[in-house]
């Protein structure tokens, strides 16, 4: 009963888009950039782009495919999730990478699309989609870390504008940012309901940025001081007092991006497998096993933890896709991602002995020097975006229904 026409019917409804994506990438992605993605660019700050990099960013920015699922009317790609996956597959196939990133893409954009006014979306989203405007986050303060809602940076109502005074800290990339999304206090009599979400140009008079030097030697974070800074009321997102709700939504985007989707996670753990590295530095026994059985045991535990994590990312994605709603598994991703990254860093240091602790200069492998800096910077991942302890609070209360003292 089956006949030729049925066999020829297109099996993949996305086949047309796949071929379109393939053609476009072939025409626009410079082969010289294949696999040259710099995962750390957000931390290291901007560098001078090569002409090829410039051209690639412009091409994908104009196409909107750096933010493939954002609406086309604001400069996004307007693709369905399924199409975006196809695009990702096609990019991976040829070693192409997405140059459009940063906080604007990961956190602020999705939040503004949800809560911003039409004028705000028209003003800010296209520039994020093209990668021409860098955003930073004004959340934490010296006295407001894990207890973020105790923030004190005050925005006084001056009719058509707010006058902002106070200090923010841990402002990621503050020294390179064009604009800042921030949480300020507009009402000192209420805690959560007294918080408002503002957008501030970093070149406004009264904004002062001081990079913070970290143990890794780099300065990816800043202290940001606000002294009589005028912020137009048009730059308020949502209503006065709605800032906590909006700010929390943004943190959800932050956490999901920090836990790393499949490709980020895969990239995070690229490089020589720990087992092989250990065989090289520690030597092997008569059966070819790492000569130090204790180290071997810890490496295999880590490798298993990593595999379990990647399988959990995959499971959560499949469950979300099959309309079972968001998987409870997503709540564990940030903590597990952090523990695996930090454990890997510690093992990388330990395996190389003192050669794994080189700070700079001659006598060290380039990889080893990089791993030292990543090890030190990596201490941040269990602290920022809600520390591991805060994540455990969230799991206990929201998922397990364990309430605080009544």
């Amino acid at each position: 009963m089956a006949t030729a026409p049925e066999i020829d019917a297109p099996a993949d409804p996305l086949a047309r888009f796949r071929s379109e994506a393939r053609d476009w990438l072939a025409a626009h992605f410079p082969p010289s950039l294949k696999g040259k993605d710099n995962a750390m660019s957000a931390v290291e700050g901007p560098h001078t782009n090569s002409p090829d990099e410039e051209a690639w960013q412009r091409a994908i920015g104009d196409k909107g495919w750096g933010v493939p699922t954002w609406p086309g009317e604001y400069g996004g790609g307007g693709l369905s999730r399924a199409e975006a996956r196809v695009l990702q597959e096609e990019m991976a196939r040829i070693g192409a990478w997405n140059p459009i990133g940063g906080m604007g893409v990961m956190m602020f954009g999705p939040t503004l699309l949800e809560y911003g006014s039409e004028a705000q979306k028209k003003e800010h989203i296209p520039a994020i989609a093209k990668g021409t405007v860098r955003w930073c986050q004004g959340y934490s303060e010296p006295g407001a870390g894990s207890d973020l809602a105790s923030l004190q940076c005050f925005a006084e109502d001056k009719g058509d504008h707010y006058l902002v005074n106070g200090q923010k800290t841990w402002t990621s990339g503050g020294q390179w940012a064009d604009k800042c999304f921030m949480l300020v206090r507009t009402d000192k009599t209420k805690k959560h309901e007294g918080i408002t979400f503002l957008l501030c140009d970093m070149d406004t008079p009264g904004v002062e940025v001081k990079p913070i030097r970290l143990i890794s030697g780099s300065s990816p974070f800043c202290e940001t001081f606000f002294t009589d800074v005028k912020v137009p009321k048009a730059n308020r997102v949502g209503e006065e007092g709605q800032g906590w709700t909006i700010g929390k939504r943004l943190l959800q985007h932050e956490r999901s991006s920090l836990s790393g989707g499949g490709s980020t996670a895969g990239r995070m753990f690229a490089g020589a497998p720990l087992g092989q590295l250990a065989k090289h530095f520690v030597g092997v026994d008569a059966e070819g096993r790492i000569a130090d059985p204790d180290l071997r045991g810890r490496i295999v535990r880590h490798d298993m933890d990593l595999r379990a994590f990647l399988l959990t990312l995959r499971r959560a994605a499949l469950e979300a896709k099959s309309n079972q709603g968001p998987s409870a598994a997503t709540s564990i991703m940030k903590n597990v991602g952090a523990r695996i990254m930090q454990e890997r860093s510690e093992l990388l240091i330990e395996i190389r002995g003192l050669a794994g602790l080189g700070w700079e200069g001659a006598g060290f492998e380039e990889e080893a020097l990089k791993d030292v800096r990543s090890w030190l910077f990596g201490k941040a991942v269990s602290i920022y975006g809600g520390s591991s302890e805060i994540q455990n609070n969230v799991i206990a209360k929201r998922i397990l229904g364990m309430l605080d003292h009544q």
Binding site: R301, A308, T312, E319, I395, M402, Q406
Partner: protein, 357 residues
């Protein structure tokens, strides 16, 4: 939860409902106290056979349901939740041997009877207290099998043994040349030493040199599903208890020190579910080498169940140490499952070897 077919979802829901209503932990307690000679719950086993679970792995042509290891795992997970004592896992493991290595005649002789629930079958591999499939001394001469197998699950009543000998796997049925000695372990389930003394044996001629490994890996993956159900149920019961027990005028659940311990357990359980489902899916997908998937699952499942079963007692306090409470059942069964078909250390070692280090 893995992404399931409609048929699998129905199977899981049916198994969950049956376990909750027809086979709660109190049924296990009753079986333990009654201590029947077979050391399983005969009524529950019969009900499972009537629902077709004994034949989950068996092709429809031979009277089974023609489903796979994910489906078997779904059922065992629900049974693990209530510690249901039936020979389902052991019989399924022996079924795998027939499917992978049995001749057409052997399959025709046994599979329909297993599917109908008429035969309890099991694997008889180890000859000592630790999983060591490379140390087999059992020999076969002129079709007669001799050797001693230790801690054979369901050995008190099994009518069909799949026995590892130096030159392969054999089927032994009936009581000729078979002596059973019960070995009561903490879990109050059936384990026995089986002495084969010239027992008539038929070789499983199919399958390759990896048959024994494939078999024990399938048995291990299935146990992981039971362990997952046990661990999740133990966790849920502990969470419920913390919400009702009041000290210092507050429910225990409101103490942050305990909240964080529970968050840690929850985290490990989510990882455990991923690796267990992955192992079962890997087997169903027909992947040629599932050793790493199974070792990952058994090592993580063993460690996680170990942790949860210890915390269950500690977080319950003194009540958890009483025989009247169910927490002890979990602890005493957990260690048995942790040891069977390779403990966490055994599987970590194999995982590392397969990784080349």
């Amino acid at each position: 939860m893995a992404v399931l077919s409609e048929e699998q979802t129905m199977l899981r829901d049916m198994a969950r409902e049956w376990a909750d209503n027809e086979s709660p932990v109190s049924a296990f307690r009753k079986m333990r106290d009654a201590a029947p000679a077979a050391f399983y719950d005969a009524g529950a086993w019969q009900a499972q056979a009537e629902m077709g679970w004994a034949g989950i792995l068996i092709p429809e042509a031979q009277g089974g349901a023609g489903m796979g290891y994910v489906s078997l795992g779904l059922v065992l997970e629900q049974l693990g939740r209530t510690l249901t004592a039936t020979p389902l896992a052991a019989t399924a493991a022996a079924t795998s041997a027939l499917l992978l290595g049995g001749s057409e005649a052997q399959q025709a002789a046994w599979l329909p009877r297993i599917a109908a629930g008429e035969v309890v079958a099991t694997l008889a591999i180890d000859e000592g207290p630790r999983f060591a499939p490379e140390r087999i001394a059992t020999r076969v001469e002129n079709g007669r099998l001799s050797g001693t197998k230790a801690f054979v699950a369901e050995g008190d009543s099994a009518q069909l043994f799949v026995v590892a000998a130096t030159d392969g796997l054999y089927l032994v049925s009936g009581d000729a040349g078979v002596t059973r000695s019960p070995r009561r372990l903490t879990d109050a389930r059936s384990h026995a030493e089986i002495v084969f003394d010239g027992a008539p044996a038929a070789k499983l001629e199919g399958g390759g040199p990896e048959l024994l490994t494939q078999l024990t890996d399938r048995a291990a993956a299935a146990l992981c599903a039971e362990m997952l159900g046990m661990a999740e149920a133990a966790f849920e019961q502990t969470n419920d208890y913390l919400k009702t027990r009041v000290q210092f005028g507050q429910v225990l659940a409101s103490f942050q020190a305990l909240q964080h311990r529970m968050a840690k357990l929850f985290t490990e359980l989510e990882l455990m579910r991923s690796v267990v489902e992955n192992a079962l899916e890997a087997i169903d997908s027909g992947k040629a080498d599932v050793r790493q998937d199974v070792s990952l699952a058994k090592a993580v499942a063993g460690e996680t169940l170990h942790l949860v079963s210890r915390e269950m007692i500690q977080l319950h306090g003194g009540i958890g140490m009483t025989d009247e409470h169910d927490a002890g059942f979990t602890l005493k069964r957990a260690r048995v499952l942790e040891a069977m078909w390779g403990n966490a250390a055994w599987h970590r070692d194999r995982f590392a070897r397969l990784g080349g280090y």
